[in-house]
């Protein structure tokens, strides 16, 4: 539905998702050398900040997988992050914090929750899907808030970060930083492969025209459920890292505002490109950090900035890059 003659450029003209290799490579290279550059400055702070950025990038990737490649706009993704975090927190409260237990627990818990709620949520579509995922997110939130033995609304302090076979590998900030980076890269590569695979193509097909896919013989529901569970587990993975980074878990990690922020990050970066989620998470958090340092009323700047990005740039921040490079190459072609 377009008024007047706006060419539909949102429909990518390529046969497969644009396989941009350069931008992700640059992103990861920058993240990899950051600690070296940071060494001279207040290293600990910068590392912490970027660990946070990368963790949210992982969570945003899970959202991007669903929204950008399966048209499942989930408004409850924070619940999975929270569940992953609580798995770490609750185990810690019982003095179990080795990776071999904590990580599978986080993945399993978030995966199971995704499976159970996905069965219900995927009956609906569009805005109904948005709202029903919100509903389950809120239920998770309220449940966590009333977990009195684990701090309820006040949250739960984690006494020791996750260990690997008893070795406290994550205690050194630099080590933790590189672990998070490695996870981010792994998740990105995984999502990339997934999207390009037969499975990913079915998801994208269902996004385009679910009825057609069904009559072609695909049981769309199953594919979407699988994607939902995968995304939920990636969310749980992010939660696992977040709990370790903040050494604290709280129901606030599951609030609907947080789910909303994840969506905004993905959209800000540019829907449909996986690295867009990373760019979006980084832009959102760094802008927030920077603007909040300037003025208490930083949202009066941040809000209009978002509006500008949507109104004038198609395809988010990554879209700016694409548009710029297209303009440059056109220039070059003309000579």
């Amino acid at each position: 539905m377009t008024l007047a003659a706006v060419p539909d450029e949102t429909a990518p003209a390529t046969r497969r998702p644009r396989r941009n290799v350069v931008l992700p490579l640059v992103l990861f290279a920058l993240l990899a050398v950051l600690p070296l550059a940071a060494a001279s400055m207040s290293a600990g702070y910068l590392l912490d900040l970027f660990v946070r950025v990368m963790i949210f990038a992982i969570a945003a990737l899970s959202v991007e997988l669903l929204i950008g490649h399966a048209a499942l706009v989930t408004f409850g993704q924070a619940a999975f992050v929270g569940i992953g975090a609580y798995a770490v927190g609750i185990l810690d409260a019982h003095e179990t914090n080795d990776l071999v237990v904590a990580l599978p627990a986080a993945l399993l818990a978030s995966g199971l929750f995704a499976f159970a709620t996905g069965l219900v949520c995927l009956r609906t579509k569009g805005v109904y899907f948005i709202m029903i995922t919100l509903a389950f997110g809120q239920m998770a939130f309220f449940t966590a808030s009333s977990l009195a033995p684990y701090g309820g609304d006040d949250g739960l302090t984690i006494h020791d970060r996750t260990t690997l076979f008893g070795f406290a590998v994550l205690d050194r900030p630099l080590a933790f930083y590189y672990v998070v980076l490695a996870v981010l890269i792994a998740v990105h590569l995984f999502c990339r492969a997934l999207v390009a695979s037969r499975f990913g193509r079915v998801l994208r097909g269902a996004k385009d025209n679910a009825l057609r896919m069904t009559t072609l013989g695909f049981r769309v529901y199953r594919f979407q459920l699988a994607a939902y569970v995968i995304a939920g587990m990636i969310g749980g993975l992010a939660g696992f890292l977040l709990a370790n980074a903040t050494e604290f878990v709280s129901p606030a990690y599951m609030s609907w505002q947080r789910s909303g922020e994840l969506i905004i990050m993905v959209l800000l970066g540019g829907l449909g490109t996986l690295h867009g989620a990373i760019v979006g998470a980084a832009a959102y958090l760094l802008l927030e950090e920077w603007l909040a340092g300037l003025t208490e009323h930083w949202k009066m700047i941040f809000g209009p900035l978002l509006v500008l990005v949507v109104v004038f740039v198609r395809g988010g921040l990554v879209g700016i890059g694409t548009a710029l490079s297209a303009a440059v190459s056109r220039r070059l072609r003309r000579g």
Binding site: A4, A5, P7, E9
Partner: protein, 231 residues
């Protein structure tokens, strides 16, 4: 009445029309012919303002309308039956007909007359647009355009999906309209019916006008029929 000159248009970066020019005089029936994908629909969209022309001009009674928004052009008397029906799915049949009805150029077409013309629509008046069969939707799209009482009626594949009986009915209806002085611009695939009905024909090939002429000339000119229309 309608003058199209050197019209150029396209989608995004892809040009589709390069040099399209033709006229429709008052009371005249003109067709656009050409194979699939040659730019017939694009021509219609461009002159309705639904695609912004990149060059050339469209004028109604000498008044240039190029670049005007679609609703202004429609208000000047163009009534469109679009390709693919595009009825309003969430409106009932009756609502589809009255929502955009207008009587700027006479009020020959009223709800009752449209119902008379398509009794099937009267039977289904309370149904939603999306609940109609393909053919019923097509009737609705035609009725909807008539309800704007246009000076120039534009039909883009208006008989698509209609049963032969109804199709024949439509052709008869169109000749009645013609007799009443209604100007019509027509895209369709039923060449014989069109030759009988229309005064002149415009043949499009890859966005260029390659032939124009009367029905008699078309019937006579074997090369055109073979080369551009594959008949």
């Amino acid at each position: 009445m309608l003058t199209v000159e050197n019209l150029e248009a396209g989608y995004g970066e892809t040009p589709v029309l390069f040099d399209v020019g033709f006229r429709v005089a008052a009371g005249e029936v003109v067709t656009l012919l050409g194979r699939n994908g040659m730019g017939k629909t694009t021509t219609i969209r461009a002159l309705m303002g639904l695609v912004r022309p990149t060059g050339g001009s469209v004028a109604l009674d000498g008044v240039p309308v190029t670049g005007l928004p679609p609703y202004r052009i429609a208000q000047l008397g163009l009534g469109l039956v679009p390709e693919g029906r595009q009825v309003f799915p969430t409106l009932t049949v009756r609502e589809n007909l009255v929502a955009t009805a207008a009587a700027r150029f006479g009020d020959r077409w009223t709800l009752d007359r449209v119902y008379d013309f398509f009794p099937r629509l009267a039977e289904r008046r309370g149904h939603l647009g999306s609940q109609l069969s393909g053919g019923e939707q097509q009737m609705l799209a035609i009725g909807r355009a008539l309800m704007t009482n246009p000076r120039l009626l534009i039909l883009d594949e208006a008989t698509e999906g209609l049963a032969p009986l109804i199709r024949a009915e439509i052709w008869r209806g169109l000749s009645r309209l013609k007799r009443d002085g209604q100007a019509i611009l027509l895209v369709d695939k039923h060449l014989d019916a069109m030759t009988r009905l229309a005064d002149r024909h415009v043949v499009l090939e890859k966005g260029h006008v390659v032939w124009t002429g009367t029905s008699a000339a078309l019937a006579a000119d074997q090369t055109v029929r073979q080369r551009w229309l594959q008949v």
